[in-house]
C-alpha cells in the first residue's frame, strides 16, 4: 500500500529556497509569480491495512519537524 506524505514549511515561516526559485522564474520571464513554497513529497510503501494514525505518528516523530513544518497524509 502506497502512502504519500507532503511536508511543507508552515505558513509564516520564511522559505529562502522558495524565494530563490521565485526570483529565478522572474528572471526567465515568467511574470506574476507571487510566491513559491518548496516542500517534500515522501512516498511510503507500507503493509496493507496500516492505519492513518500510524502514519501520523511517523510524521510527528520523524518525517516532519512540527516546529517549522506541516504535513498532509494521502492514503490511496
Amino acid at each position: 500500500m502506497k502512502v504519500r506524505v507532503d511536508v511543507m514549511l508552515k505558513n509564516g515561516v520564511l522559505d529562502p529556497q522558495g524565494e530563490a526559485v521565485r526570483h529565478a522564474l522572474g528572471s526567465l520571464g515568467f511574470d506574476g509569480v507571487e510566491g513559491v513554497r518548496q516542500g517534500k513529497v515522501i512516498e511510503l510503501d507500507v503493509a496493507d491495512g496500516t492505519d492513518e494514525a500510524t502514519i501520523k505518528d511517523m510524521c510527528e516523530k520523524l518525517l516532519a519537524n512540527t516546529v517549522i513544518e506541516s504535513y498532509a497524509i494521502h492514503m490511496d
Partner: protein, 222 residues
Amino acid sequence: MKAAVIVFPGSNCDRDMAVAFERAGASVTMVWHKDTEFPNDVDIVGVPGGFSFGDYLRCGAIAAKSPISASLKAHAKRGGYVLGVCNGFQVLTETGLLPGALMRNANLKFICKPVDLKVETSRSDFTSGYNAGDVISVPVAHHDGNYSVDDETLATLRGEDRIAFTYTSNPNGSTADIAGVLSENRRVLGMMPHPERAVDVAHGGTDGVAMFRSLADGLVSA
C-alpha cells in the same frame, strides 16, 4: 570533568571537540551513536559538528533518533550538561532539548568564516568565563544555521536570559541574530559557531578557550 563526545556517521568535528575538552583538563570518551549509554559519571556530553547521516531528511533529524539519543535526553533530564555545536545544535533542536529549528541560510550559501559573537549572558557554566557584552571571534561553517523561533518562544528566551550568543553581523538570517541558546536549566547549550575551533593559536584565535575552561572549573566543583 568527565566528558563524552557522540560520534555519528558523518560527524567531522568530534575529535576537535574532544581535544578542546581534553585541553581544559577533561577525560574524554568517544561514544558511537549505536551505543545506548554513556560511561558512568559523565558530566557533559558533546554533540559535535558535521553532517550526521548526510543531512538526509533534515539536518540532525536522523541523529536525533539514534539509539544514543534516548540516553542523551535522559542525561539532560537528570541535569547533566550538554554542548551541541553546529550539527550538534541541529540535533539538539530535533530532539526537543532546545527550542526552535535551524533552517537553510537566508542567502542560501554555505558560510565558512570567523564571525564576531556578542556574549549575551555570563550566567551559565558555558559563558561564565566571559563578560556579558564581550565580543569574541569564533568560526562558523554551515549551510543551515538560520535559527527560527516563533515570537512567543523568543519572548521566553529573552525573558529567561537564555540567549547565550548573538551575531554582531547576522550571516544567516537567524531570528534576533541568535547564534546560541541555553536550556531552561542553563545546562544545555546549542550554538552554530565552533568554539572548539578557536582553542589554539594555530586555529587563528583562542576565544573559545574560556568556554571549555569555565566548564572545567564549574564541573569540578559540581
